[in-house]
Amino acid sequence: MIRVVLPPHLRTLARVLDEVQLEIAGAVTQRSVLDALEAQYPMLQGTIRDHVTRQRRPFLRFFACQEDLSHEQPDVPLPEAVATGEEPLLIIGAIAGG
């Protein structure tokens, strides 16, 4: 079971109170996690990745296991601790004021 922590606004949008849990068949990568996340919570489509380019939105970051994975390629496997559910994938909104 993969664990994902969403930023507060996306938790509200997805109507979840805490981290979400996803079943992933096959390799656990940014792409497969986001695909599963958007399949389970369709209202999140377009909010983390651009609809057309499928690129991460520039004010969002992906952290896990004390590492910044934002600039990893989408098909690179995530850390083993994320794949086993020991650690969550953190989707973080940039500290950008306002």
Partner: protein, 371 residues
């Protein structure tokens, strides 16, 4: 008894202000979508319980929300706004070509007779439409492909399509306005468009009378008289008596004719409202006094409306979609400020009172007259 609902979009959420026909006591609901920018919220004339809201964020992009119960509950609908085909380029601020990129929805205009049909004006400028209540948005690409697109340029707020007016007598006729391209009209339901900017004079573009490139801030039409349009341009207040084919300057005795909003009395098509703003470099009222100006003669002659509005130290702005009128017998007029106040007049502008004073900066105000 009839009443009004004011739909207020702000920089940090949506609010719904409700009152009976007296418009003295108000209930404030919200914030809905707390923390998000709500550029615009509007109800369907065909079903007043059906509302649409444009919810946007620099972090998370664009969402569209729909309510079927007058804003008590909401559900997100499709948020995919994809230009049809190669979007090409428009002018950047320095005149160089810049790719068309979707940023946000500025204005949602529900159809007059079908609650599932809504037009969306977006930045970078284009017009989209849904005919299934927001499940899918399709671009009416005839506007962007009019041919003048490469000469359109962004205003300070972005290259936004901010005004959409559907002719009540002819749903195939739609007026739109873009900052900074100008006004356009279709007479065939959006397949083809023509610029309607003849008579506009804009000294900030190389050819002040160019076919396109004008920074139109807002256009308004009284649905009882569809051929007559009023415009607040960057500078200049204008009117057209021939559906935009030509425009006449009607600034008259206004103390400044820079501003953003313009609207028309619900029952008196020659009564027009503007909020003069000092200049394009100082976006606040003259002398710190917030004033609405009203013309009862369709322009040229304007009277200052001050009763109940701040007399000093007021340095707010009133943005382009932040004024609206109701349909009650004594027409109500409403506007919101960047300082978070929403002012109401239940007597066509003679006197004003703040409904709320401390909302986040107001981006848009719409009114529903409900029975």
């Amino acid at each position: 008894m009839s009443g009004v609902r004011i739909l207020v979009g702000t920089r940090k959420g949506a609010f719904i202000l409700a009152s009976d026909g007296a418009r003295k006591k108000w209930e404030v609901a919200g914030p809905h979508f707390a923390g998000w920018e709500i550029y615009h919220m509007k109800g369907s004339p065909a079903d007043p319980n059906r509302l649409y809201a444009s919810q946007t964020s620099g972090w998370f992009g664009q969402l569209i929300q729909r309510s079927n119960d007058a804003g008590k509950t909401w559900e997100p609908v499709d948020n995919k706004f994809v230009y049809d085909g190669d979007a090409g380029t428009h002018q950047w601020y320095d005149g160089t070509p810049h790719p068309w990129e979707f940023k946000r929805v500025w204005h949602l205009e529900p159809s007059l007779n079908d609650p599932d049909t809504v037009y969306a004006g977006v930045e970078d400028a284009a017009l989209f439409r849904t005919t299934d209540g927001g499940k899918r948005w399709v671009e009416l690409k005839g506007l962007r492909e009019h041919g003048s697109g490469p000469r359109w340029q962004p205003g300070a707020g972005g290259m936004c399509l901010h005004s959409i007016i559907v002719d009540p007598n002819d749903p195939e006729r739609i007026f739109i306005a873009i900052s900074a391209a100008g006004a356009f009209r279709t007479d065939d339901g959006g397949k083809s468009w023509k610029p309607i900017n003849k008579g506009l004079y804009s000294k900030y573009i190389p050819d002040p009378t160019a076919e396109v490139g004008h920074c139109v801030h807002h256009i308004a039409m009284n649905p009882r008289r569809p051929g007559v349009l009023f415009m607040q341009k960057h500078w200049d207040v204008m009117r057209s008596d021939n559906a935009g084919d030509s425009w006449e300057k009607i600034s008259g005795n206004l103390p400044t004719d820079f501003g953003f909003v313009i609207d028309i009395h619900a029952h008196e098509p020659e009564t027009v409202y503007v909020v003069p703003i000092k200049s394009d470099s100082e976006h606040f009222p003259l002398d710190g006094k917030l004033r609405v100006y009203r013309s009862r003669s369709g322009g040229h002659e304007w009277e200052e409306l001050a009763k109940g509005l701040p007399e000093k130290n007021c340095y707010v702005n009133v943005l382009r979609d932040a004024m609206a009128v109701d349909q009650l017998d004594e027409c109500g007029v409403y506007f919101g400020t960047t300082g978070g106040q929403v002012y109401a007049s239940a007597d066509a502008g003679n006197t004003w009172m703040p409904i709320v004073r401390d909302l986040p900066g107001v981006l848009s105000v719409e009114v529903q007259t409900v029975s």
